[in-house]
């Protein structure tokens, strides 16, 4: 049993101090999370009540520094409340996919045989559906909302997590500490949950951060297509969809939520990449 090969120096490079990009990304995510959590108590206008004339440009009025939308509602308030919905959908769906996928993957790796084949067929079946088409079909049957979005997006992204967890579990199945536990008479439950699962948490968690960014974009795409969060609840995708009708006269209605989505996705990706590099280093470097 040899330790996996690592390129000398690569680990050291990855272990360098966090740069400004990471700090910025982290700060944006923390700020966003605080705003989303505090949306109810912050001194913001109600997201579905008019505060002034329609299509007020940004930076012309206080406290509506981001102006008003086509209906005269506060863009700032809708952006913050939209963050709440977009983050809830993104984190909820990612958690669901990570937990379900992680468990399925570890189970498949541990049980092998028929169970592994059954789980494999199930995952392949989910993967074989074009995701957007499946989501559109689901939206036609069930009434769209935060919970249905979380459930359907979560279900769709079970397979990548399951495969990742299975790969991580397989690489640990033959490690000495697992053999030792088995020799000491550990049962299935103990082997699964105490020995195998903890090793899979790090890769799954780091991947989840990257997936969270993808989920935000999926929610945006669905709301843009009109099958996401129904009005008047604000979500970033719905804000972009509503603003596109006024692109010629009020481009800020599209640009503001687009910028928010761009920054968030970029931040999740920056943090996610960094975490993944760390996890690779840990699992690659330490036996």
């Amino acid at each position: 049993m040899t330790a996996p090969l690592t390129v000398p120096g690569a680990a050291a490079r990855r272990r360098r101090r966090p740069g400004p990009a990471l700090w910025l990304a982290g700060s944006w995510l923390v700020l966003l999370a605080l705003l989303a959590l505090g949306a109810g108590v912050l001194p913001l206008a109600a997201p579905d009540a008019p505060v002034g004339g329609p299509n007020l440009p940004p930076f012309t009025a206080y406290p509506e520094v981001l102006g008003t939308d086509g209906i005269g509602r506060s863009v700032l308030s809708r952006l913050v409340h939209g963050a709440r919905i977009s983050l809830a959908v993104s984190l909820g769906a990612t958690s669901l996919a990570a937990v379900a996928g992680g468990l399925l993957g570890v189970l498949a790796a541990y049980l092998r045989g028929v169970a592994e084949s059954a789980i494999g067929v199930l995952l392949d079946a989910i993967l074989a559906f074009p995701p957007l088409l499946l989501l559109l079909a689901l939206a036609a049957v069930v009434r769209p909302g935060v919970w249905t979005l979380v459930a359907s997006l979560g279900l769709l992204f079970v397979p990548p997590f399951a495969r990742l967890a299975k790969a991580a579990a397989l690489s640990r199945l033959n490690r000495e500490y697992v053999d030792a536990a088995r020799a000491l008479g550990a049962g299935h439950g103990r082997l699964l949950f105490r020995e195998l699962l903890p090793g899979c948490v790090a890769p799954v968690a780091s991947y989840a951060v990257v997936m969270a960014a993808l989920m935000i974009m999926m929610e945006g795409a669905l709301s843009f297509l009109g099958v996401g969060i129904p009005p008047p609840a604000p979500s970033w995708g719905a804000m972009i969809a509503a603003g596109k009708d006024f692109l010629a006269i009020a481009p800020q209605l599209v640009l503001v939520p687009c910028a928010a989505m761009f920054l968030t996705v970029l931040s999740f990706n920056t943090v996610g990449e960094r975490l993944r590099a760390r996890v690779d280093t840990i699992s690659g470097g330490a036996p």
């Binding site: 579905d48 008019p50 329609p54 005269g72 009109g226 009005p231 008047p232 509503a242 010629a248």
Partner: protein, 506 residues
């Protein structure tokens, strides 16, 4: 000779790319909705300009057509339409020598065949109520006498809007089911190729009755779902005309892109429709509270920037347009009082706004929700539905509280009658008021202009007091087109007359 030709072509450079009217050419018109149920004159389904009205006009032509602004009836394939004194007997005279594009004659017998097919319960035509109880007699080759069960002095308008299209009886008899997919008419164009959800290519009908018409050789209808993309298609030269649908904000956008807009202001337009057949809007107080809470001027501006709010059911150019605004003025305190009264009787106003998903209607729903929620004792939910779901829920099952529909009103007949009469075809509100019915009947059956004016003023007074509907944006039928395309005449609800279209402009 060569020099002369060269000089000539240089001099005529701007003319070269676009042949003068009568010299053919091809034009593309962009519509919004595919003719999903085919094109059968007995099965008119989506007779809107962005739907089937334009296709039908090109393929079938029109026996008679009505001016999009005034509702005045003009001859088309038909020559004249005259009523007996009581409006019970109508004599339709056709032009001589009309033939369908399959060579069979379009005579009085063919029109009778089409109308009896509509009346036949087996056809299940949505137009059947229009000819219920009527009999049709062919008195000579070109003359059809229609005897109605009840007098209707406005039946010419019914013909011009709903019974204007006739198909070839030979083609219909051969295969009635296939006819909708392979329509044969006597219009200016014939169907050549139809690729569903993409385009429909039509070629000039050489046997069209008017000498030298149509001007174009080829006409193509394209389907683009997004209205902004329809305007862009014309701006980029992929198409010569586009029917953008209900949003008036595209007029400004099109003009900004250097395009022309053929427009016809009319009355009516998008209306809120209250379901008066069930709670909560069976109570006039609830309807009044909603209407008084709204500032229709602001509403028009918000839901469709650049548009205005109507002040009457009738258009500004209509003889029935009142001198003062007929729409109730905003009175928030009054609305609150009504809402409080409703709450005090244990019926606080709670309802759902059911709207189509298009930008205009979605903004209407969000506007209503945002403005009404400022008041107390009212709770408004929004439900945005795709077209199929809306059709089923609102227009078929009438399972709604507040929705909207577009009802253009050129002359009050026939659209206002259909909307407000107890057994009107588009009375989805389930509205029933004997006084309104009587006034609508009076307006329809009178030949005297002064009496009609009185009748329609009564209709407006009663409707604006009882509020089964609220028009909230003025209606303008329009088609965006490039300056090359000429001869755009808007008829009916805003579709074109295709024998006049040419590529002669600059």
């Amino acid at each position: 000779m060569i020099v002369f030709a060269a000089a000539c072509s240089t001099g005529a450079q701007p003319q070269e790319a676009r042949p003068a009217p009568g010299k053919g050419g091809a034009a593309t018109v962009v519509l919004g909705v595919e003719a999903v149920r085919g094109l059968d004159p007995a099965q008119l389904f989506n007779l809107t300009p962005s739907g089937d009205a334009n296709r039908l006009s090109a393929i079938f032509g029109l026996l008679f057509w009505s001016d999009a602004s005034t509702g005045e009836v003009n001859p088309g394939l038909g020559e004249s339409l005259t009523a007996s004194g009581d409006g019970k007997e109508w004599t339709m005279k056709l032009r001589p020598g009309l033939t369908f594009s399959d060579g069979t004659p379009l005579d009085a017998e063919a029109v009778r065949f089409n109308y009896e097919r509509i009346a036949d319960p087996k056809t299940r035509s949505p137009l059947a109520t229009l000819v219920k109880g009527a009999t049709f007699e062919v008195s000579d080759e070109r003359t059809l006498v229609v005897k109605l069960r009840e007098g209707n002095r406005a039946f010419d308008r019914v013909i011009a809007t709903s019974l204007a299209f006739v198909g070839s009886p030979a083609a219909i008899e051969k295969d009635p089911a296939a006819f909708a997919q392979q329509p044969v008419g006597a219009g200016p164009f014939m169907l050549k190729e139809w690729v569903r959800d993409d385009h429909m290519t039509l070629t000039r009908n050489p046997s069209y009755y008017r000498q030298g018409a149509p001007l174009l050789d080829t006409l193509t209808f394209k389907v683009i779902a997004d209205p902004a993309q329809r305007v862009n298609a014309v701006a980029s030269g992929q198409a010569q005309a586009a029917v953008t649908g209900s949003d008036l904000s595209f007029i400004q956008r099109a003009k900004g892109s250097g395009l022309q807009v053929a427009q016809a202001p009319a009355g009516g337009g998008p209306m809120l429709i209250f379901n008066t057949a069930r709670a909560p809007f069976d109570d006039p107080k609830a309807r009044k509270a909603v209407v008084l809470a709204l500032d229709t001027k602001e509403m028009a501006q918000v839901v469709d920037p650049g548009s205005t709010a109507p002040d009457s059911l009738y258009g500004a150019s209509s003889p029935f347009h009142p001198s003062a605004s007929a729409v109730p003025a905003q009175d928030v305190a009054g609305a609150q009082r009504l809402l409080d009264e409703l709450a005090a009787t244990g019926k606080p106003l709670r309802f759902t706004v059911s709207m189509p998903a298009s930008g205009f209607f979605r903004r209407t729903a969000e506007y209503l929700q945002s403005r009404l929620s400022r008041l107390r004792n009212i709770q408004v939910e929004i439900e945005v539905l795709d077209n199929a779901a809306l059709d089923r829920k609102v227009f078929t099952n009438r399972d709604f509280a507040l929705s909207a529909q577009i009802v253009p009103v050129a002359d009050p007949e026939p659209n206002l009658y259909k909307l407000l009469h107890s057994d009107g075809q588009t009375n989805y509100m389930g509205y029933h008021d004997p006084e309104v019915d009587a006034a609508l009947d009076r307006g329809r059956d009178s030949a005297d202009e002064a009496e009609r004016r009185e009748a329609y003023a009564t209709v407006e007074r009663l409707v604006m007091a009882d509020l089964p509907v609220l028009p909230y944006r003025s209606q303008v039928a329009y088609t965006v087109h490039s300056s090359k395309l000429t001869g755009l005449t808007l008829q009916g609800d805003g579709s074109l007359l295709y024998d006049r279209l040419g590529l002669g402009g600059s």
